[in-house]
Symmetry: C2
Subunit: 416 residues, 2 copies
């Protein structure tokens, strides 16, 4: 089954908004095993919508349209679709009653233009909108299908899996396959290196589709398998996951959608550990990320952003002679920062960063991107040196990730 | 002049990557006064590319294509374009020499497939690529023009203003207008409120195009004026800027691309002031943002993320009875945090945040989203209460923005 996508809205055509609906719909369709053949975007123009829609439908089985279903005069998608296939617009009494009920409940004044959202082309099946007033619809055109849903991403994202896909599965039963999806998140290798390590895995032979999604500084893999049954698809996925794991285990931190911060939160809570953080080059980003998880106050005691040498001495007890002898950006300082913050905070763990985020401040011996990360549990302190080559923001991001990954590895090796 | 856009790549069709090239090109075209009529995306398929391209060109004056210009077998855009308009592929000797030179300089082995990047359809004009090996081209088709550039965003973003637009201006001189663009960045009002405050400004009568770009938690406005001369366009813009300023002056922090952090950096440096930050609910995000500016170590002395009451007492000298009587989330605590961190760091300014980021931790008196921000210069301390209603990450983001905005307002009112 071939799919076409038509996104509608003047805000797309002037570039005010980048179309993310098409990529979302394409992912969902591919998950079902239905390839998208052409995507198109047009403005809120009656004739253009009708014309492009007929063109798209000429070489696809179903076209999914988003946008232009609001109550105002420039929302003309429903009327344009009706015109494209010579249908009358007919009010749906159930949708009309639902809309009037919403207006009553929220004490809004009903005006006649709102009735527009209850009009649908003759022969259309309504696709309910669980989170808004704009219902969608599916219009059969011969053996083919035109589907229209709102362009508001939060509504569209609900209505594709709940409405669009179920209508498509019902109308095109011969195209229904069971699908299993598995996300694997990695950190520590560039996309090219991940690619290279997986070069000898024959995903095609395994019947598994693999996608690479770099989300700086992480690389995510998404494996998709389709089969007649859920069990068969699951079996295919498992074989691929095993082969990926064998080649990337040192870099994988999540099998699923969980973030590195969430993985750390679960382990810290389970092991009943507490942590304090002392940051220099990451400037608060490690603390910011650790505290992005609700409930982090249980294990995150404090974070210190010690930019000046005085702050490192005063707040962390870093000996002045270490700073003098080795410099603020050094393994010795990183160790003293981690040990100092742990001791003063009275936590189980201490984590630190020091480095040169750039673009200024680099020297020949310590170029921009030089970073030291240290982690201590009071008995043992580990420290690693990194040499990054990014801009300031990305140097901060990748350094914070390296610090969180060091913490995650420590938690993995530590018995509960 | 009507423009069509065709983005090419299998990664678009499976939804692995959302197409951001189209929006970028559309913005650039609109800046020139050239509306985009239809955007399309297709996979790396010979026949489909040729067919869709001919269709797009049938109702536009110029089509801009991106993607599929690499040296590998699945990069087929050039060949598909040549096929679509019955042209031979001819090597360009200058491009070939340039490519071979790159291979020599970087000590790479030349293989014959690389010569593919020097092939262009007969009659095409080469569009140089200043940052990569894939040159683009412009192919006249009757009175119309097909232009092809790489899909790599960093290359595409260079080649549209430097190559594509100059070729279009030369080929379509009757469509050339002078354009002036002005960005205005605001914080403190929702998009709907900005819209409402500007409702009585007749941008059409002023001959100015206005776009709203919400970049949470900020709202950016982009004003564009076009005229026969730069001076005329500038005059139009100035009138619109004056009217916008009269209605939004309390919310505007930047006329241009500068960020709030950069505005603060310039003022702190100019006034030779230093700052220390004490954060609770923002979890390090204020420090992270302040240190995103290179050179921030001059004015940013330290940041403390004091999540626990112990840390607030120990590191900031917040009196235990204030915490007991008013709670950690209170105006009194916010004031004591700002004053404490300033005193202990010995800086000119102290800035603090305390609140409930959520989704847990709220009470009836202090619901999720309750935030206090305080700023002190040692003589006077100001504190403001905010009630936000977002998710955890956005509550952190908008709270950090409110803190930076408070600092920015202070700096504006303070003589150098």
């Amino acid at each position: 089954m071939k799919i076409g996508i038509l996104t509608i809205g003047n805000e797309l055509m002037n570039g005010r908004i980048a179309d993310t609906n098409s990529a979302f719909i394409a992912r969902e369709m591919n998950l079902q095993g239905w390839p998208v053949e052409t995507m198109m975007s047009v403005g809120d123009d009656f004739e253009i919508i009708a014309d492009r829609l007929r063109y798209l439908l000429s070489f696809t089985d179903a076209v999914i349209c988003t946008g232009g279903l609001g109550p105002t005069v420039d929302d003309i998608t429903t009327a344009a679709v009706a015109r494209a296939f010579d249908r009358q617009l007919i009010p749906d009494e159930k949708v009309l009653a639902y809309l009037k009920d919403i207006f009553t409940r929220f004490n809004l004044r009903w005006t006649e233009n709102n009735a527009k959202q209850a009009l649908f082309p003759e022969g259309a099946e309504v696709i309910p909108n669980p989170v808004g007033t704009a219902a969608g619809f599916a219009l059969p055109v011969g053996e083919k299908l035109v589907m229209v849903i709102p362009g508001v991403p939060s509504e569209m994202r609900r209505m594709v899996p709940e409405g669009v896909i179920s209508v498509l599965r019902r109308r095109f039963p011969q195209a229904v396959l069971q699908t299993v999806k598995q996300t694997i998140k990695t950190f520590g290798l560039g996309e090219a290196m991940v690619d290279q390590r997986l070069a000898d895995v024959d995903f095609d032979a395994l019947g598994v589709n693999v996608g690479f999604y770099p989300v700086f500084p992480e690389n995510h893999l998404v494996l998709i398998a389709r089969a007649d049954s859920q069990e068969q698809a699951q079996k295919k996925i498992q074989k691929a996951v095993d082969q990926v794991t064998a080649r990337l285990s040192d870099c994988i931190f999540s099998y699923g959608e969980e973030t590195l911060e969430e993985k750390i939160a679960a382990a810290m809570t389970e092991k009943k550990l507490t942590i304090a953080v002392a940051e220099s080059c990451t400037g608060g980003l490690i603390a910011d990320r650790l505290t992005d998880v609700s409930g982090s106050s249980v294990y995150f005691e404090r974070g210190l952003v010690t930019y000046s040498n005085e702050a490192k001495i005063q707040l962390l007890g870093v000996p002045a002679d270490i700073l003098e002898k080795h410099g603020a950006v050094s393994e010795e300082t990183a160790r003293a920062m981690a040990e100092g913050v742990r001791k003063l905070a009275g936590t189980n763990l201490g984590l630190s960063s020091t480095g040169i985020a750039g673009p200024t401040g680099g020297t020949k011996e310590k170029p921009v991107g030089t970073v030291y990360i240290a982690l201590t549990d009071g008995e043992k302190t580990v420290c690693r040196h990194y040499a990054y080559r990014w801009d300031r923001r990305r140097n901060k991001l990748i350094s914070s990730e390296a610090a969180l990954m060091m913490l995650r590895n420590y938690l993995q090796e530590t018995p509960s």
